[in-house]
Symmetry: none
Subunit: 138 residues, 4 copies
DNA sequence: GTGGTCTAGACCACA
DNA sequence: GTGGTCTAGACCACG
């Protein structure tokens, strides 16, 4: 799971986390019963206060998305079905449209835009792989 | 231009307006030189305080998207993009990363993601062209 | 840094603050990275509403002069001048023209005017140096 | 007399006019009994609403600086002595300092700054001469 | 009519 | 404690 925070959006960080984790859960990127990253390391990784992550988790718990077992960690609850394909498509289109609009607003030509997308996909892929390798080693 | 506010999203109202107006500008729904809705009526329509709309507009002005002529109104600027290339790139990357992360969360495979991007670029292009044609007729 | 407001000048309070803080930054009275007075106490000290100070600070942020870290405070930015050369020139010309016009109004002859400029540049330079020395000692 | 308006300063235009005319009067650039430019042409020249100029003049009248003779125009009143040299110097220094501070803020080097000053003095001189020639022809 | 400023006071998010 | 958002309402400046 990749979590990405936008510090400047004005949207509360803990809500950004909630949204992204809900999405990951709903999409199946997070499987029922699977453990979420624990608060302290995640807070460090995201360069965010621990309270902020804790708040996101407690919000998720009260939403019934996750379950907190004190002393053991946070786990995804069972009763979540993956979203229907159409809904997922809609969620993704929202983000894509924002990027396209931004590109147009900044007058970035189409080919540069596409090139940038490929670049970022590679960058983020590498990041993710690095993360996973790091965890295997630990 | 249709403006719509989500009071529960946690995202500040004025930022929602900023985003939507930037989008409208980028998509061609608003044309350079065109007047934006005036602050007071818009505030009433959206059932929001006048200051909140004013803040959105003032933000847009300092971003260089609109121009406000006191006593006359607010207008979309002509050349709204005097940002340095580096900064533009950074802004765009932010949006792109969000889309990529969303795609990953939703476990949309790479080729489907790219296909969707092309689709949406075409769709938005068509929309923009339609808008322009409509205005020419008027 | 001393901030002083003229309630009768007709110039908006928040702009007076913006100007004075820009001046303090330019003169070295405020150093890059240094914290500005926090909004609430400053508002009390100046007997001004909190929002007014906040508006000044937010203006300074969008001008790229300061950086505000919510929950922590506002700080003078390091490299406050990413403006394009052309824009900078225009901003400077505005100020220069005002001085020239004032000189003409006061019928100060050209050579006296230029002499006065040199004098003031030296005076302000000295002030800035004094400020820097003082801070090194602290 | 040169009148120079800054539309972006936030200071009311009519107050800018009042200040500049007071200064011109105090310095002797405007002589007692001399006629001020009439409202309509001045408003056009400055690209300002007639009401704004009218307001400035009415303000000046209530301050006792000028006298309005309906149907004939506005004239500088008699009882104004030129300011003492020291005061004039102080007024001028204020403007000069603002320009210097702006230059420093924009990191314009000293020699460029001085060069720009000479440039602008020439430009404004030419403007003034053009104005005067134009009036002689009329 | 337009936008701009300021106040007073409430509540939120974050460290 | 910090800054941020929002509301409600008053008054000003300008066209």
């Amino acid at each position: 799971m990749i979590l990405q925070i936008n510090f400047k959006s004005g949207m509360p960080i803990y809500l950004q986390l909630v949204d992204q984790i809900k999405t990951a859960a709903a999409s199946g990127a997070l499987r029922p019963g699977e453990a979420l990253p624990s608060i302290r390391p995640l807070a460090e990784e995201l360069r965010v206060n621990r309270n902020t992550v804790a708040k996101a988790y407690s919000e998720l718990e009260s939403l019934g998305v996750i379950e907190t077992l004190p002393g053991r960690g946070c786990f995804l609850k069972e009763n979540h079905s993956a979203l229907r394909k159409e809904v997922r498509r809609k969620l993704l289109i929202e983000e894509i449209d924002q990027a396209i609009v931004q590109a147009h607003h900044l007058q970035v030509p189409r080919h540069e835009f596409l090139q940038l997308i490929h670049e970022r996909m590679d960058v983020l892929d590498d990041k993710r792989r690095a993360n996973e390798d790091h965890k295997k080693e630990v």
